[in-house]
């Protein structure tokens, strides 16, 4: 008896399908609610090589849906924990652990070695970055995303450059804050499992040539009432105009900025945020001797060159607000921090302490 005996017996799949899975190299972006079931099933069905990309660490609120992790994993990097579990389960599986977030300066190198990319990330800058990199490198992409009790799944770029990509349906991202993520609007633990399994199934079918895939189609599913909706996508001229055409173009893009996430906020907005989100973390990034000191709002001082050494402390908060003297140093620091924590709300305060009222 072989581990894949049931696959061999499955009409239309057989040993030929299994061999294709064994030879496949798949990169999974995000080891979260979608990534966990995707990784478990890709490894179980016998995909030859799996790359796991995630710079985030396990937090307690992840445990209701991110089924690879348990209470003893709190604070550990998700890609590392996931990689260790998959390696322990299956001796002949090759796993590459990438404990980082994808950025314009590392994505090309990481994607190059893989035949297929699966995007289970949780923010628009990463989704546009992964899409554009797949188009530039001509890699098929299985896309899936969640909004509360609804999910969308699509397969992009499966037929090379003539194929549809994410920008054909959404040429421009929504404005900042327009579409809340799971942290803000909540999600029921089991639902990402359904969409993640659908994504894994699309990847397995695409690799093995088994059945039909959602090539150039987007499937919407509502898990509260089981309604689903499928649409045929078509090429969009605006999509072509907006996206980077080469690796160099992509590397010079600023995806945070493109998604409206590098906008600065006012002190008035800071007060509202600190009132609405008691967890909000206000940080003075100036040197200790710089005047005037901020009065009337709780803050901590972390000088710009100390930020990298204070990431653990910063990571405990979901809303992070930075100020300096005039807003220039804090804007730069906010941008760098946002790359490290793409799913957090990180803003620089316009005009710095000089505009404090």
């Amino acid at each position: 008896m072989d581990r894949f005996d049931r696959h061999y017996n499955l009409k239309g799949f057989g040993k030929a399908g299994q061999e294709k899975l064994q030879n496949a190299k798949v990169l999974v972006v995000g080891a979260g609610g979608l990534g966990c079931p995707i990784l478990l099933y890709l490894a179980a069905v016998g995909v030859g090589k799996i790359g796991i990309v995630d710079g985030d660490s396990v937090s307690e609120s992840n445990l209701s849906r991110q089924v690879l992790f348990g209470q003893h994993d709190l604070g550990k990097n998700k890609a590392k924990v996931a990689g260790k579990i998959l390696n322990e389960k299956y001796a002949n599986l090759e796993v590459e652990v990438i404990p980082e977030f994808l950025r314009t300066d590392n994505i090309i190198g990481y994607l190059q070695d893989y035949d297929l990319v699966i995007d289970g990330s949780d923010n628009f800058p990463t989704r546009y970055l992964v899409n554009d990199a797949c188009v530039v490198l001509n890699k098929p992409l299985v896309f899936g995303a969640l909004y509360q009790n609804e999910g969308q799944v699509a397969v992009f770029n499966a037929k090379g450059s003539k194929s549809i990509n994410y920008r054909d349906i959404y040429p421009n991202p929504p404005s900042a804050g327009e579409v809340p993520n799971c942290n803000e609007i909540g999600i029921l633990g089991v639902f990402p499992g359904i969409i993640g399994c659908t994504m894994a199934a699309e990847a397995i079918k695409l690799i093995s040539g088994f059945g039909e895939i959602l090539d150039g189609k987007m499937h919407f599913y509502n898990f509260l009432n089981h309604s689903d909706y499928k649409i045929e996508l078509t090429k969009n001229q605006q999509s072509y105009q907006n996206r980077p055409k080469s690796i160099e173009d992509l590397q010079s893009m600023d995806y945070q900025d493109f998604c409206g996430l590098s906008a600065d906020i006012s002190w008035e907005e800071v007060r509202t945020l600190m009132h609405d989100f008691p967890d909000a973390f206000l940080v003075d990034v100036r040197g200790k001797d710089e005047e005037p000191q901020l009065e009337g709002l709780a803050f901590q001082q972390i000088e710009t060159d100390q930020i990298d050494a204070s990431l653990d402390k910063i990571a405990q908060h979901d809303t992070i607000l930075l100020f300096c003297q005039t807003g220039i140093r804090s804007a730069k620091a906010a941008r760098k921090l946002q790359e490290k924590f793409p799913d957090k709300y990180i803003r620089s305060i316009k005009g710095g302490i000089t505009s404090f009222k």
Binding site: G30, G32, G33, L34, G35, D119, G120, S121, D122, N123, F124, R127, G144, A145, L146, Y147, Q148, E150, G151, Q152, D168, I169, Y170, N172, P173, P174, S175, E178, V179, P180, N181, C182, I187, P192, M218, F220, N222, S227, Y229, K230, I231, E232, L233, T234, N236
Partner: protein, 77 residues
Amino acid sequence: MVLTIKVFGKISEEIDQMEFSIENPGNVSALIEKLQAQFPQIQELKYAIAINHQLAKPSEDIPDGAEVALLPPFSGG
């Protein structure tokens, strides 16, 4: 003639329904204008539009009796 409008994600949350009917204004851009007037709360939202399960362009005509879907992007994972 009326159109059946199906809505998803945040749009359905904002207008508190998943499906409704509206008089056919003729084409996609006219429909967007009409929807914005009827539901000011979705004015700022970005969404794709499909006519009878096909992604549509702004200039596209809408046949009478069509089913039109308003499809916002999702990002959660």
